[in-house]
């Protein structure tokens, strides 16, 4: 699967994929310090979404989405109301 070019598209697609079947989806964050890159992957083993960056300003966004998905996972029901991205 190709990498997403824009963060907005990726974030939207990732959340949508998560909400289709929360039990199946895993979110993988890979950080390589020596090469200075960071990759976020969201997959349900059928669809795979990836976003890769080497920009420090993206850390915040990635970490934010990461945290948002974590909160969704622990919340009892996944409601799409809280899914607005800024």
């Amino acid at each position: 699967m190709p990498y997403y070019q824009t963060w907005e598209e990726f974030a939207r697609a990732a959340e949508k994929l998560y909400l289709t079947d929360p039990m199946k989806v895993r979110v993988v964050l890979k950080y390589r310090h020596c090469d200075g890159n960071l990759c976020l992957k969201v997959t349900d083993d059928a669809v795979c979404l990836q976003y890769k960056t080497d920009q420090a300003q993206d850390v915040k966004k990635i970490e934010k989405l990461h945290g948002k998905l974590m909160r969704l996972m622990v919340s009892k029901e996944s409601h799409s109301g809280a899914m607005e991205t800024d």
Partner: protein
């Protein structure tokens, strides 16, 4: 795979990040976890497992050792604050705004 408490997990994760500063990568996986430790029963077999719908499994690995923890809805706020800080503190090897440093790694402050 070592299942750790939240706090112990964060400590180990810090160690993992430090270990991978010169070479290797850190991989963190999030997955929704319902507490199931046995496979889903086949058709005709009664479902004995009660799904607790509000947990999150966090795994981390450097390719060699693996650690994991389960975050529940009670602990999520506390865990997440510490976790976010940890991530931001350690993911500092990336490029600053590409105006100045094109293709070159800048030192993090």
């Amino acid at each position: 795979m070592v299942l750790l408490e939240n706090d112990a997990f964060l400590t180990e994760l810090t160690r993992l990040f430090q270990k991978c500063r010169t070479t290797g990568s850190v991989v963190i996986t999030l997955k929704k976890y319902d507490g199931r430790t046995k496979p889903v029963p086949r058709k005709g077999h009664p479902e004995t497992h009660e799904a607790a719908d509000n947990k999150c499994l966090v795994r981390a690995s450097d390719g060699k050792s693996k650690i994991s923890t389960v975050v529940t809805s009670k602990e999520v706020i506390k865990f997440q604050m510490a976790y976010s800080n940890l991530l931001r503190a350690h993911m500092d090897g990336l490029k600053k705004k590409d105006k100045k440093s094109k293709g070159k790694k800048t030192k993090a402050t």
